[in-house]
Amino acid sequence: MASVTDLEALLRPPAMEMPPYPPKAITLASGEEMIVRQASREEMPILLKAIYPLLLVERDYYDIVAARLYSELLAYKRYRVKDEYVLVGLIDGVLAGLVNGRLVDAKVGMSYHTLTIRRGLRVGSHLFAAKMEYHIEHCGQDEVLIVAESPIGFRRWMIEYPLDKKHEVQHELGGVPSWVLTRKTYLDAKPRLVSGRRPVPAEKLAGAAVIRLPGEDTVRLQVTGEKGGKA
């Protein structure tokens, strides 16, 4: 008879060896410094808490991005997704945005989501670039499958890089025809889209060791920018 532990092992996808993402520091337009680092499985609860208020924000497709990202982070926490990783951007230790994805196999990656909390500073652009950097430069993959759920995402990824069509492949995010970032596309785009400094000094890393969240109202205001309607 199989034990609970044996059954759990059957429910979990097999895991590949994944290299760590080396943290980097990025100076933003505001002059603030954002530390980009990998988030551990143990940090998923606080990230889930950060995303929760956005589940009902329709503006700019935050609801669908937040809902899917919530399930992906939960699946990562509970070992129900194969070879996922999560990167976070922290300004003074406060969460500014996060990205995630997974490795399909040794050579192909799949981008999941990019969610920006602190808008207007190209945080999402920096974090998406960090994600591509992880797949191509650190995992040594040849390509990353990508889709966009919002027009903003389409402009940022498909047009700005620009990505190639790989529409014969259905992306895991709803079976939408995939686009692909190849190693060449990445290297061509790198000078204008990928930035950051390494190594990050120990004291700065220490300041980003614990993820802190902005208040829920702050998150909603930063995400929706809904202030023009108030006299």
């Binding site: 100076t27 933003l28 505001s30 002059g31 000078p191 930035s195 023009g228 309607g229 108030k230």
Partner: protein
């Protein structure tokens, strides 16, 4: 002509509004009417400035709708569409009504809801002001015209990207002190120009203009209550006189101008406004300029006569246009950071200046400001309204 006074000023926060268009206009109007404290004195006319509601919000006849929303019947109502200069044009219409004796009290409200559509459509809607056969059909947008203008202006006068960045940094700093501003986010020279990351932080929009050289796309409304001398005196309102208004036009297509870097309409409109006010540019204590692009603040400040041609960027470098400088420009944050709901902008500039002259501008108050100037720049400089306000001592 009878003298005309600003007796009330109000606006909504600029940014992204969830309110319907007319509610947004009503909010600013109510703020201005509350500020004016008219009591039982009737509003005789309502003039609404708007550029694109018929196209992007599917709403026309906004002035009639606003009168109804505010229960101001039977006030006369009309809308003014004059591109990005709609706001100051509407103020001019209100001014003329009072100066001519047709009205004693006029509410002028500017409103625009540009975030109802995505950025590309908003850019296209504004681009529809360009010459239809010579510009628009070739894909010309306002950022592209500004990019062409900036390249020539910078080459001719030695303006560098860091000068443009200094304008952006100043205006973002000012907006931090303005609760009504769209963008409450300071930017730094390192962040937008000199750090390696600046390439990503501040991508090109229309070279040499980058993202932080361009104003945001905003929703918002602003309103002024104008009144005759008798009404202003009866209410005991602080005496902010509309001392002079000037307006001038230039060729529709920019390439037809003898010198595309010469903002002739700004020059002529400003000269007319100063002449009517009996003032000189050097008499002005504070100015609001139409910095839809950072280069325009520099170029307009020269065309208006505040600096010699080719010298404004040096004044920016010396800090003369900061809140603490000799001539503070765009204390509100300007279009660059306060935001640019096109139809509301010209009114909002004068709201800021009225507050400045009344000593009500809070943290961004310019000490002892008695005279003020605004430039509302329509088209790409082909229709400009300049306004001079003066505080009268009792």
């Amino acid at each position: 002509m009878r003298p005309v006074y600003v007796i009330g000023a109000g606006m909504t926060r600029f940014g992204r509004s969830e309110w319907p268009l007319v509610d947004l206009a009503a909010a600013a109007s109510l703020a201005a009417l509350h500020h004016a404290d008219l009591g039982k004195i009737p509003v005789n006319a309502v003039v609404v400035a708007n550029m694109g509601a018929g196209r992007i919000n599917r709403q026309t006849a906004i002035a009639s709708a606003l009168v109804d929303r505010l229960s101001l019947w039977p006030a006369a109502a009309e809308a003014v569409e004059n591109g990005p200069a709609s706001g100051a044009s509407a103020v001019k219409v209100g001014y003329q009504a009072i100066a001519s004796g047709m009205a004693d009290v006029v509410l002028v409200t500017g409103v625009e809801m540009m975030r109802a559509v995505d950025g590309l459509e908003a850019t296209d809607f504004v681009a529809s002001l360009s010459h239809p056969e010579a510009e628009y059909i070739y894909g010309v947008t306002l950022p592209s015209l500004a990019g062409l203008f900036a390249r020539l202006f910078m080459e001719r006068y030695g303006v560098e990207r860091r000068h443009l960045a200094l304008v952006a940094i100043k205006n973002h700093d000012n907006a931090m002190k303005n609760p009504y501003a769209h963008i409450h986010q300071p930017v730094t020279m390192e962040g937008i120009l000199t750090s390696p990351e600046a390439v990503v932080n501040n991508p090109p929009v229309a070279e040499p203009l980058h993202m932080f050289d361009c104003c945001p796309v905003s929703d918002g409304a602003a309103a002024l209550v104008l009144a005759s001398q008798d009404i202003a005196a009866k209410l005991g309102a602080p005496r902010v006189l509309v001392a002079g208004i000037g307006q001038a036009t230039d060729t529709h297509a920019v390439h037809e101008r003898q010198d595309p870097t010469d903002l002739k309409a700004v020059r002529l409109a400003s000269a007319a406004a100063f002449d009517r006010a009996g003032l000189k540019p050097s008499d002005i204590d504070v100015a609001e300029l139409h910095d839809a692009f950072t280069i325009l603040e520099i170029a307009e400040s020269e065309a208006a006569g505040f600096f010699k041609v080719g010298q404004a960027h040096k004044a920016v470098e010396r800090g003369e246009t900061k809140l603490t400088g000799k001539l503070p420009i765009n204390p509100s944050g300007g279009l660059k950071a306060k935001g640019h709901p096109v139809g509301a902008t010209g009114v909002a500039q004068l709201v800021e200046l009225a507050w400045q002259l009344r000593g009500e501008a809070g943290e961004r108050q310019i000490a002892k400001a008695k005279t003020a100037y605004a430039c509302n720049f329509g088209g790409f400089g082909n229709n400009v309204v300049a306004t001079v306000l003066r505080k009268e001592e009792r």
